[in-house]
């Protein structure tokens, strides 16, 4: 078995066995882990759009919010089973992203600003469409994750296992897309879009596909979050934090890698909640800014590439 496989098996053992066994009884730490991995999932979806689609989004809160509302409403009003509703939440977010297709003509900061505006439009819609969304009062008593075959997915360990599995599946999907011919063409499109178009690449379609996939992933995580916290209001579901935190996490962890954004989210969130918050209970986020600035200056490619580089150097170092 090569080193890569061994590290994958070890990571799986840690995630699926060690963490639940060692930390499962500590509800506070488990809730921090669940929140950080959820942010990591959004960061991964954000990085997919940026890394493959070449688009920097400040509007992922829109997909997160739409996914959470669609799933919550489907379970509450139509009695759709929670896991099916979560998938449909992702589909809802992907459908919502169709409204953003005109922004694909824009590039750089113009795209970022336009998609930010879309996020605000969805928040206003959720606030004003009171008959469906409950308006600013929000939705409460959203069904928790169910119990299946005697295992309670709504427990802290159950929630943890579900979000870990969702994010791992998304990472796998990301990896498959990146390794495909589509991924190769997408990588090429960033700096040479005309050159890809003249060899037959439909760049607009590929970018739209990445927008759909990224929106779907973010929507599913938003849906998970709604069933995890059992409450939803527009200012929370469409909060700008769902756009900015994943960006910070992805850049910190290494947005050009697949797992960097997830590792970045777990690291940043845990350090923020467990360390910074204890020193500066109010306004501790300022430390996050300093941490990100430090990482960008110290290792612009992010934490994961830095770790990998260090590991390679230590292995190649003469004995």
């Amino acid at each position: 078995m090569d080193a890569r496989r061994i590290s994958v098996v070890l990571a799986m053992v840690v995630m699926y066995i060690a963490v639940p066994l060692l930390l499962g009884s500590n509800l506070y730490v488990m809730s921090l882990l669940v929140a950080s991995i959820a942010i990591g999932g959004v960061a991964l979806a954000w990085a997919l759009l940026g890394n493959l689609g070449g688009m920097v989004s400040f509007g992922h809160a829109a997909f997160f919010g739409v996914g959470s509302y669609v799933s919550a409403l489907l379970t509450m009003k139509l009695g759709v089973p929670v896991f099916a509703a979560m998938l449909l939440g992702g589909v809802g977010a992907a459908v919502a992203s169709i409204a953003m297709l005109p922004t694909l003509r824009l590039k750089g900061p113009y795209f970022a600003l336009a998609i930010l505006a879309y996020a605000q439009i969805f928040r206003i819609l959720a606030t004003e469409w009171k008959s469906v969304t409950g308006g600013s009062g929000g939705l409460s008593s959203i069904p928790r994750l169910p119990e299946i075959a005697g295992f309670d997915f709504g427990s802290k360990i159950g929630n943890y296992l579900v979000i870990v599995s969702i994010v791992l599946i998304f990472a796998l999907i990301y990896q498959r897309i990146r390794a495909s011919h589509y991924g190769t063409a997408l990588r090429a499109m960033h700096d040479s879009e005309d050159a890809t178009r003249v060899v037959g690449v439909n760049s607009t379609l590929l970018k739209a596909m990445m927008l759909f996939v990224s929106a779907f992933m973010t929507g599913v995580i938003g849906a998970f979050n709604a069933h995890y916290i059992n409450f939803l209001e527009p200012d929370y579901g469409f909060s700008g934090l769902w756009s900015t935190l994943p960006i910070v996490a992805a850049i910190f962890g290494g947005y050009r890698t697949i797992l960097g954004p997830v590792i970045g989210a777990v690291f940043v969130y845990l350090v923020d909640q467990l360390v910074f918050k204890s020193f500066i209970p109010s306004g501790h986020q300022i430390m996050l800014g300093a941490l990100l600035a430090g990482m960008v200056l110290f290792s612009p490619t992010g934490l994961l590439p830095w770790i990998v580089e260090k590991f390679k150097r230590s292995r190649n170092a003469p004995a």
Partner: protein, 237 residues
């Protein structure tokens, strides 16, 4: 194979291509010449779809492609290279050709890719980063290789020999001749060097200020008084 009917391209108040009507036959090797600013590259951009003409028709293999997007024209068999090479960045040389073949033809044929790599002389550089590890002549060869990988019926070559030293230019010119013979592809080539054009092409088309001013065999065209005037600004003695 390619018919341009009354094609006009304007950029604001400047008419870059003016009411141009031109026909290029299958498997022809045609030179497109003219002084700087004559509209040659703009015409290539209009044919390949990067620029949309304000008026006229562009028909390729009996398909009206005027409103067709760039990628569809490529899939129909319109290949092109750029004057300043544009390798697909972040990819290796082989991946450049792979993307072109996969999306230009709809499938991947590894042995055909190897054949093209060999033909353009990049087999040994196949694993190199295309945007940072190639010399100019290799970048030019990659431009041609990418276009060939899309299996074109007509190849638009934009100053593909520019910047090459004499030996490299001769070698490249031979490659273009061989390409025409081996792949049966038609070529429309922009080139400033009269000797190159005379050597490669049986037909030359001359543009000046976006207008067609001459069309014929190289030795006739290069003796044409209006063509000489367009280059020198003076009447031929």
């Amino acid at each position: 194979m390619l018919q341009l009917e009354n094609v006009t391209v304007r950029f604001g108040g400047v008419t870059a291509v003016d009411n141009l009507t031109l026909s290029i036959g299958a498997s022809e090797v045609t030179g497109l010449v003219g002084p700087n600013g004559a509209g040659k590259t703009t015409l290539f951009n209009a044919i390949s779809g990067l620029v949309r003409p304000g008026a006229g028709r562009i028909v390729f293999n009996a398909v009206d492609v005027l409103n067709a997007p760039v990628y569809r024209r490529a899939r129909l068999g319109l290949g092109r290279t750029f004057q300043v090479p544009q390798p697909l960045s972040r990819l290796t040389v082989r991946e450049n050709l792979l993307v072109a073949q996969r999306f230009g033809t709809g499938s991947v044929n590894a042995s055909r890719l190897d054949e093209i790599l060999d033909f353009v002389g990049l087999t040994e550089k196949a694993g190199r980063d295309a945007s940072s590890e190639l010399a100019l002549s290799e970048l030019k060869a990659l431009e041609v290789g990418k276009a060939l990988a899309t299996n074109p019926k007509l190849l638009l070559l934009d100053e593909v020999l520019a910047g090459l030293e004499t030996t490299g230019k001769r070698r490249f010119m031979q490659m273009l001749k061989d390409m025409h013979a081996k792949f049966g592809v038609g070529i429309l080539i922009i080139e400033h060097d009269i000797e190159t054009i005379s050597n490669l092409c049986k037909r030359v088309v001359v543009l000046n200020f976006g207008e067609l001013i001459a069309d014929g065999a190289p030795d006739e065209v290069f003796r044409d008084a209006e063509v000489i005037k367009s280059y020198t600004g003076a009447e031929h003695a």
